[in-house]
């Protein structure tokens, strides 16, 4: 019963967050005072801007406009892209698979490798290999995505000529974007798993298991890792937002046709309906991810009596 009300509470919180993001996305347009002038090309005449303002309903009271915006969003209607004269949501849906593919591959390789490296570092604590892993993860967090991406291009596309520097299509196109995007995440996961596992390995039940003569390997895999995963899982949701942010830069550099590139292009060409759709969608993904993380937390840690 308590678990159920916890889940309902979290779902409600998620809805509040989405509502808040919709407010930001909506009112950002009014920061300069005149959204019509903002959305029209800079060389539009006064009369054109006025006509556009009339057509978009920017003369109505602001809460009426917000109501209309929310009503539209709920029925999946963000308005037409000013650049392509097509529904913003269609553009988003077209670009989504590319981003999903990139994000999932980046997430997969970095999580697997991160768990492996973190575990090795924790088990061989204070050894040379632990030191090496810590240096790598420190550097991984220090290098900006765009710099790593450019260095990868210089090495693998320009010097060695092994991999294509941009575009989408084959597996070879995916390699560098996935590495660039996953690098930060790899460092974060490695550090977390290491710290968390070191803490768990100091617990009494691990000492008991060792006293019973269970092999080291079995202790780590069966007894320690499961508990060490709890803090790792809880911050996954937080890191996911940074992953989406990193995807934006990665997609620009590698000309990857995903929603991040769509967002930046739309911002640069002032195509605000598309920008609104992308930002709200990103927030939705973030909220859903965090909700799933909460559920996973509940499942992983039965000791939590809510």
């Amino acid at each position: 019963m308590k678990a159920l009300s916890f889940v309902a509470g979290r779902a409600l919180q998620g809805l509040v967050v989405l509502l808040g993001v919709s407010l930001i996305v909506f009112f950002a347009l009014f920061l300069t005072g005149d959204p019509a002038a903002l959305m029209m090309p800079p060389d539009a005449s006064r009369a054109e801007i006025d006509a556009f303002r009339q057509a978009m309903g920017f003369d109505d009271p602001i809460w009426v406009q917000y109501g209309r915006f929310i009503g539209g969003v709920l029925s999946g209607e963000f308005g037409n892209s000013l650049r392509f004269q097509r529904p913003a949501l269609d553009l988003l849906a077209e670009r989504l698979p590319a981003t999903a593919l990139l994000a999932l591959v980046a997430l997969l390789w970095s999580s697997l490798l991160g768990f492996l490296l973190g575990t090795i570092a924790a088990v061989r604590r204070n050894s040379a290999i632990d030191f090496a892993i810590r240096v790598i993860s420190l550097l991984g967090q220090a290098i900006p995505v765009f710099w790593l991406a450019l260095v990868l291009i210089i090495i693998f596309s320009l010097k060695l000529r092994w991999l294509p520097s941009s575009g989408i299509g084959s597996l070879a196109h995916l390699v560098m974007p996935a590495i660039a995007l996953g690098a930060y995440y790899l460092s974060a996961i490695t550090r977390l798993v290491r710290a968390s596992l070191i803490e768990v390995l100091g617990e009494n039940y691990i000492r008991t298991a060792r006293a019973k003569g269970i092999t080291n390997w079995r202790i780590i895999v069966h007894h320690a890792l499961r508990n060490a995963m709890i803090p790792v899982i809880t911050v996954q949701g937080m890191y996911f937002a940074s992953l989406l942010g990193g995807a934006l830069i990665t997609e620009i550099i590698f000309a990857w046709p995903g929603i991040g590139r769509l967002a930046v292009e739309s911002i640069q060409t002032r195509d605000f309906p598309v920008v609104q759709a992308v930002v709200l969608f990103t927030a939705l993904v973030f909220v859903v991810m965090n909700f799933l993380v909460d559920l996973a937390y509940l499942w992983l840690n039965p000791r939590i009596r809510l």
């Binding site: 919180q13 509040v16 220090a142 290098i143 765009f146 710099w147 937002a241 911002i267 927030a283």
Partner: protein, 279 residues
Amino acid sequence: MPDYWNVRRNADAILAVALLATIAALCILVPLLWPLDPIRGLLTATFRPPMTVVGEHLHPLGTDQLGRDLLARLGLGTAISLGIVVLASIISVVLGTILGMLAGYFGGWVDIVIMRAVDIQLAVPFILLILLIVAVVGPSMGNLIVVLGVTGWAIFARVARARTLEVRELEYIDASRAIGLSHLAIIFRHILPNIVGPQTVLLTLDMPRLIILEASVGFLGLGVQPPTPTLGNLIGEGRAFILLANWLVLYPGLVIGALVVGCNLLGDWLVRRADRRDA
């Protein structure tokens, strides 16, 4: 025994200070003392590789597409980027600390509203939010500082609130209330001093995020406008010429890397010291 001088134990702090001091030297000494102009170049000397001599001037890091000396641009760019980041983080810390203390101290509706705002803030990737606002208000240094600052308050609010919740229950706060101090006086005179320490640590750990964020915005061309150099602008402009002149991208990236590693090491060291004192 002063354990500051224990080299083995504090090796990371020493490395951090060395890195940050090098960067500080770069962004103070180069703009002041280096004779070459970071904005105007020699169009007859474009894309010269590092350590080339043009006329009587040595270009230790080479020149860019307009024949400008990269060392001069890197020095000024680092200084400008750091200035933006420091001012922005001051806005974040002040805003976050005040709101966090209010949430923790008053609880109830104030708490709910502020903490939901934190959730909302954290639900949108920073870079997307910043690009959106910059696109609306226009790219300029002032706007960038405000936007980076205002969007960074959330984590500081979380920590300030948590610490306030702890401190609020202490007896001396009850005592201050009993002698009739106002809420504001209690918050700013008696709770704030407990929060300064944790916020300083958090600030060093948050600095890398801001440095990379500012550089990302510059890289996308939505930050400070050219010809003014920033770390992100340098890499963004150099990107078009990586085939011809990869040093334009490499050196600014190394500076960013050194800055972030320095801040992270310093932050970790501060956390460790704070832990030891608590124990």
